[in-house]
Symmetry: C2
């Protein structure tokens, strides 16, 4: 759409002087800087000198290929991801990512990582996920004509299990701890391209956050400037880091004078990025308490989120299920029904209640249909109803 990819190579986030060819994507972290305790992710470097700034006069729309010069090669077909609306709510803006092809932000990432699988000539993709990520990967693989294996666990909501299975992937429900060794075996023995993490601390796919950069570009166009602060639901922090990278690029290209402060919003039941930032570690692993925000609850953090928060002058915020539920109710009463996990950003902003010198964006990542408990309640039928009954 807008010219070929200007992606040059992979670069380590552990040491920017450690560079690698663009292919194959290093899906087990940086081989030079990672240790037994900390795995460092890679990112993609571009030939920024060749970027046409006219790219940023486009309106957002439903195909991230409009930003193709600043993405890895998009070899997988679009399902119409991106171009999501920005809606005012209280004193912030909501970036409504439930409006993507599989009704979550994950579609931006999966367009890019399934493209990497296609470009690599892989015979299929494999993903360990019980929710949005697994369904999205299955959808993009199906669209690209690639077989997909989804290793899921039994604890996701029943409707979400149907969702993950809808796209024709091979979906296998296994005990949570069995997922990672199986994933590795499928990668090693079948040559499937992994779209899930394989390292001790999270590194994920080196191309993944590139898809999320498009949200930064869209926000810049939608607001006519970069926001002062961004609050994002944070599990592995690929979303937070991806947006941060996009804003940094806008600065680098001379289009924006500054980048926003980035706020990672994790569940109070865990919070590996908050822990790493508090202790000064490059990444952390924590114990996990109970939370219904299953989409962002994890024990394992990564270095990307630490970089985004620290380098942007942001903060790590921990939010309770109760705070997310309040955000969920209040947003629904403004016409937006979002998944509980997807409201950690709104809950985080409300908890902090800081003044910012410019617009604040909270990312809402996913549809309310994906929540635990949806469809479990039975409502009574009012036989012979009168107006008085209805109004009572």
């Amino acid at each position: 759409m807008n010219g070929p990819s200007l992606a040059l190579r992979q670069r380590s986030l552990g040491d920017p002087s450690a560079e690698f060819p663009l292919f194959p994507p290093l899906t087990r972290g940086c081989p030079k800087t990672s240790t037994d305790e900390i795995a460092y992710p890679l990112e993609v470097a571009y030939d920024y000198a060749r970027v046409d700034r006219g790219l940023f006069t486009q309106e957002p729309g439903t195909d991230i290929a409009r930003w193709s010069p600043l993405l890895p090669p998009l070899e997988a077909p679009t399902l119409g991801e991106g171009g999501t609306p920005l809606l005012p709510f209280e004193d912030v803006f909501i970036k409504d990512e439930s409006r993507n092809p599989t009704w979550s932000h994950k579609d931006r990432l999966n367009r890019v990582v399934v493209s990497a699988a296609v470009a690599s000539g892989a015979p299929g993709v494999v993903v360990a996920s019980s929710g949005n990520h697994g369904a999205s990967a299955a959808a993009y693989a199906a669209r690209a004509g690639l077989p997909a294996i989804v290793l899921t666990s039994a604890d996701s909501p029943p409707a979400v299990q149907d969702f993950v299975r809808a796209y024709g992937a091979k979906v296998v429900s296994v005990p949570p701890e069995a997922r990672w060794p199986l994933l590795r075996e499928i990668v090693d023995r079948l040559g499937y391209h992994p779209v899930s993490n394989q390292t001790v601390t999270h590194t994920g796919h080196p191309f993944g956050p590139e898809g999320y950069k498009t949200m930064a570009y869209e926000l810049f166009v939608q607001l006519g400037r970069v926001p002062a602060a961004v609050f994002a639901p944070t599990g592995y922090a690929e979303l937070l880091f991806g947006m941060w990278k996009g804003f940094v690029e806008l600065q680098l290209l001379g289009l924006a004078e500054r980048a926003p402060r980035m706020f990672s919003c994790e569940t109070a039941s865990g919070g590996p990025h908050a822990r790493a930032l508090a202790t000064g570690a490059p990444a952390a692993i924590v114990e996990l308490g109970p939370s219904d925000a299953y989409g962002i609850s994890g024990t394992v953090g990564g270095h990307r989120g630490v970089l985004a928060v620290r380098d942007s002058g942001g903060e790590a915020v921990l939010v309770t299920d109760e705070e997310m539920r309040r955000a969920q109710r209040d947003l629904a009463r403004q016409g937006m029904w979002q998944e509980l996990s997807g409201l950690a950003g709104v809950a985080g902003y409300r908890r902090l209640r800081r003044d910012f010198d410019g617009p604040v964006v909270c990312v809402a990542t996913s549809s309310g249909f994906k929540d635990l408990g949806v469809g479990t309640e039975r409502y009574p039928v009012l036989e012979n109803p009168t107006l008085a009954d209805v109004m009572s």
Copy 2:
């Protein structure tokens, strides 16, 4: 966004010379031409001479206010409706309406009819619906700060019942036959604005299809021309008629040389529009057999669908649940998981398999999350899984 509404007045679809002021919206059909057996709907007339054709050089985007000159006044705030992608599938294009604020096409209608409620100074809106329409009306009412009453029945899927309730409306589950007298009472005694039909054959809200016109405009911009044929899931045919009207306007404005043939795709279990067209009646009421396509299954048809099919040289198509299920499976295997009802258009096209001298569009109206049976299956967990198990 693009200037004020050029809406002039209401006009009867029973007799175009019967005209009425734009307000109040005549929500009980045309008072001049309706009889005890057939109720005639009204439509909105515009001052087409004043329409700036530059309107149609805009890209589609997530707010139908970009077409405001050709819509009734939009007094209710947007939730970011419209701007949905057009995706190739086999030899047709899919207009993916699951990408709207409440994940169905209904949002286009409800932006417009809730605006009518706001403009009328109504103290609230009332709707009889068990699914997408009720949830969408509740969402737009919530966004506009208007109370909403949703009269629902107990037979919709449990997840959809949560969905309808999420937006803070007063939702009352009543026996299906109790809905219409209650609706009328709420309108008459409380002054609530009705966003559901109140007449013997369907007339609905006179402004409703105006919202769907925006799909015709978007298709014209997305394809760079009007399609040769459009296949739409058809319940009350507001969608079909609305799109038809939009295409006719494009012709009237000299932007298109022809309008597409419009195909109403109803469940074989009923099909009031097919009946009316077969018998030459202005509208029909039929008996209804069982179907899982609850979103488009109804006994009562209206005159709008008859006009759209007849005047466009289209046809009425009846599709079975089995045909819709096949379309559902095949579309999901291309990465699009749609509601069963929402696939009547694809199923209808496949049943007809006609050659058209130009692009064919099938509207897919809603997300797969809204189907009957979603979330009811339990999948076994594979304990101690091996690679051989996964691949078996």
